[in-house]
């Protein structure tokens, strides 16, 4: 009797668990299964590009996930585009002008339609920009926009609360991608991004993070060459490399540095390395050990950037001469802050009063050893490697470096709280917008968090002047002067330009690198055989 009862209980529970598993796996309406496997028949009929995206695809909000929607899916477009020199060129706006210091007028391109067939006119553009400002409040802070209105069928007027000479440059931010009102339902809930780009959203599965876009046959510009693009979030670099190797994806970004040579040697894979608008840079604690300019210069001279770029980053990056790369129109090419001269560095430290009085290999002064914490974070894989290399290189100079990694948000808190630190190594974007002063303001302006205590009245005044100079050539000139001052003062040391390694299946051709993209942006005439 007891045995029968036990058997009955066990089989009942086992059955229930199995049934639950099967029911939940097969019956969820919220989780339609999306195959990342290309269908053989469909493949014969259409050209499909499979992309292994390096971040998880958490959503496709065109404002807060604008980089994905605009640059990686080509669904939205912005008023002002940029060329390879980071100079503005017409996008959805054909021209723009400022009528006074606080007002910009944009002429909107005619004959453009959204993916839902509605016309893109001034009313639609004004609504889209106002929506972006409401969804992402940081866009208000960075632009000082106070109002946006349609002042003609194809004319939009934007007023700012403070003069902003670079408002058109900020209109290049992907969060300002122009969308139709149909992106939201009648209750204001986000549905799918409806843009004007060469591709439109076909499906997005929030659960699997797979985004599929198909070509927009009514696109006003160059017709897309690929019918469908499937973008899958693959956060593990090794998985991306293996998926590329197995032929599951055709293109990916940021495969592991140490895998690039091996992958490139394979017949069916091609690796291309480029430098992006991001820099591996070091903020120095100018309120403590690095208060003396000679010490800052010595630290910079002791860094062997060539070795770091070639051996630590496996060529995924290049030596930084300053904060900008020489393809940027406003780069001060006369600056060369990449010198490596250990003897000169030692001399400067001696002039600053630091010597190894006790022979322990580390410099000291008034009983204090030159010892500090170098803080960095792990989200960008090159950072911990560079930190270790710098630890060894600065030891040659007599600096004792303790490397600490922490979450990037904890670093800001750590520094603000007044805890000990000497260097903060980060991978900072230099051109979120193609602006000649955006990065300078954020890294050097006294009141900014990212200046980490550095303060210089002359620098502040030059930055203010640059932001309000409406003549582009003159603005670039002021930017070059700020760059020279910044590199002379050296509160921030630039180690390497940030490199990316793109992996392609051999069947992908005609890829054109876009240096203004944040990870990658493929071109509409890319080919797949």
């Amino acid at each position: 009797m007891k045995k029968a009862k036990v058997k009955k209980s066990l089989s009942g529970i086992m059955g229930a668990v199995l049934l639950l598993g099967l029911l939940t796996a097969c019956g969820s309406a919220n989780a339609p299964e999306v195959s990342t496997e290309p269908n053989a028949q469909a493949m014969a009929a259409e050209k499909v590009l499979h992309i292994g995206e390096l971040w998880a695809i958490d959503g496709i909000d065109p404002v807060n996930q604008g980089t994905l929607v605009k640059e990686k899916a080509l669904v939205t477009e912005v008023l002002c585009e940029a060329n390879e020199k980071f100079e503005l060129i017409p996008g959805l706006a054909t021209e723009w002008t400022h009528t006074d210091d606080n007002t910009w007028v944009f002429t909107i391109r005619q004959g453009v339609k959204f993916h839902d067939g509605t016309a893109m006119d001034a009313e639609a553009v004004a609504w889209s920009i106002n929506n972006a400002l409401a969804v992402n409040p940081t866009l208000v802070t960075s632009t000082n926009i106070s109002s946006v209105s349609a002042t003609g069928d194809y004319e939009v007027t934007i007023a700012t609360s403070k003069p902003n000479a670079e408002l058109p440059e900020y209109m290049h931010l992907s969060g300002f991608g122009i969308i139709a009102a149909g992106t939201y339902d009648n209750s204001g809930n986000f549905v799918l991004p409806i843009g004007t780009g060469p591709y439109k959203v076909d499906t997005f599965n929030n659960s699997t993070g797979v985004l599929t876009v198909i070509k927009n046959n009514d696109y006003y510009g160059t017709k897309p060459s690929i019918d469908k693009v499937v973008i899958t979030g693959m956060t593990d670099p090794s998985t991306r490399a293996l998926a590329l190797e197995s032929g599951e994806i055709d293109f990916t970004c940021d495969v592991p540095f140490n895998e690039t040579d091996r992958l490139d040697a394979l017949d069916k894979i091609r690796i291309e390395k480029y430098v992006t608008a991001r820099t591996y840079c070091i903020n120095l604690n100018c309120g403590d050990l690095f208060s003396d300019k000679k010490v800052r210069q010595a630290a910079s001279l002791a860094m062997d950037r060539e070795t770091i770029a070639n051996d630590v980053l496996y060529g995924c990056g290049s030596v930084s001469k300053s904060m900008y790369t020489d393809n940027m129109a406003w780069d001060n090419t006369e600056i060369d802050g990449a010198a490596f001269d250990l003897e000169q560095a030692k001399k400067l430290m001696a002039e600053a009063g630091w010597s190894d009085s006790d022979g322990d290999g580390y410099l000291d002064k008034d009983g204090r050893v030159f010892e500090f914490t170098l803080i960095t974070y792990t989200q960008r894989p090159g950072l911990p490697l560079i930190a270790e290399a710098l630890q060894a290189q600065l030891k040659e100079l007599g600096m004792k470096v303790n490397v600490t990694t922490m979450d990037s948000s904890a670093i800001t808190e750590h520094i603000k709280s007044g805890k000990e630190w000497g260097m903060y190594l980060s991978g900072s974007a230099t051109c979120m917008a193609p602006s000649c002063v955006y990065f300078l303001e954020n890294k050097y302006y006294s009141s900014n968090i990212s200046a980490y205590g550095y303060s210089n009245a002359e620098m502040d005044s030059m930055i203010d002047k640059c932001k309000t100079e409406f003549d582009t050539a003159e603005r670039y000139e002021i930017s070059k002067q700020i760059q020279a001052l910044a590199m002379d003062e050296l509160p921030v040391i630039y180690v390497c330009n940030y490199g990316v390694a793109y992996g392609f299946n051999e069947k992908v051709s005609n890829f054109k690198f876009n240096p203004t993209a944040h990870d990658y942006m493929w071109n509409v005439d890319i080919q797949i055989n």
Binding site: S9, A25, E37, N206, T239, N448
Partner: protein, 317 residues
């Protein structure tokens, strides 16, 4: 029995409240400015430039300036009424996203669990019944060997062998039954050693009991002894262990889900912790806890039905 079950359900409810409270407090105390984290994960790039004004805006937007206890109370009130909030990062209702991940996590986990159960329980029973025999030594060595392999390494090796070299299986995706094989094996290999060792040690203990000696002296054959006397006494330990494993399944596996791009709840929880997406974190933790609690509740009910000493509050000895 009903009284026993009702008592357990009430206790489970309070455990769930306690877990949600503790997780909220512990996660709130983690280093890092919450407003900065939300700002960098939701509105700007995670290592892009931060403005003070934006930090303040985010603090106000997400009510981060109010005391922790009030933030928790606001969450709890909503949760009890079925509103688990909206994810800061995904901008969708927390519950809908968790619900969409559960089937993938549960299905993969249960496949791995049943495969591990079918292999390791008979192995454990046989090894204990033939203690110190060749099978016992070999099976112990094999399970220790596989148990020592880190799952990320095993996953990569499996991919290299079966996806790259042999080209038999896909690396990522969920569209085909073939997609289950590698993540399933990776999870299963991690489960086998525990199940095997607990089964073996329970069986060994039972086989040393006086009633087994009595059964032997009555002249029963080994199969009769095992089926009539040993199995019933081994069952509570194995069921408890199985319950723990099943409870663990709902927690997913960050490593396996990341490597195989499997849309499970483990990676969702991990990402929400990194981005301080509090509503999502709370939702995941409560769901995972609920899985454990349900599994443990079922274990209690089953073992109580098998062994009356448990439901009567008595001792086994």
């Amino acid at each position: 029995m009903l009284k026993f079950a009702v008592k357990r359900v009430v206790a489970c409810f309070f455990v769930l409240i306690a877990v949600s409270f503790l997780s909220f407090i512990v996660l709130s105390l983690a280093p890092g400015d919450t407003a900065v984290t939300i700002l960098t994960h939701t509105f700007i790039g995670f290592d892009d430039i931060i403005h003070d004004a934006d930090v303040q805006t985010v603090s106000q937007l997400y009510n981060l300036d109010s005391p922790l206890i009030l933030q928790y109370w606001a969450w709890l009130k909503g949760a009890l009424l079925g509103n688990w909030g909206t994810s800061y990062v995904h901008n969708v209702p927390v519950w809908s996203l968790i619900l969409s991940k559960i089937p993938y996590t549960l299905f993969l986990g249960l496949i791995a669990f049943f495969a591990a159960f079918i292999i390791s329980v008979p192995m454990g029973l046989y090894a204990a019944a033939h203690r110190n025999g060749a099978f016992d030594h070999i099976s112990r060595f094999v399970t220790i060997f596989f148990g020592s392999i880190p799952n990320f390494w095993l996953a990569l090796v499996l991919i290299i062998v079966f996806c790259i070299k042999l080209n038999w299986l896909p690396v990522t995706g969920i569209g085909s039954p073939l997609n289950f094989i590698l993540p399933g094996i990776t999870l299963m290999v991690g489960m086998i050693p525990t199940t095997f060792r607990i089964t073996r040690s329970s069986m060994s203990e039972v086989m040393g009991q006086d009633y087994i000696a009595t059964a032997k002296s009555k002249g029963l054959t080994p199969p009769q002894i095992v089926s009539k006397h040993a199995l019933v006494n081994v069952a509570p330990s194995v069921i408890t262990m199985a319950g723990l494993e099943i409870g663990h399944i709902l927690g997913g596996s960050v490593i396996v889900e990341t490597i195989f791009v499997w849309p499970g709840i483990g990676k969702l929880l991990y990402d929400s912790i990194i981005s301080k997406d509090y509503p999502m974190m709370q939702g995941c933790i409560v769901t995972i806890s609920l899985g454990y609690i349900i599994a443990m509740f079922l274990v209690d009910v089953i073992t109580a039905s098998i062994d009356p000493r448990i439901r009567l509050g008595g001792s086994r000895n």
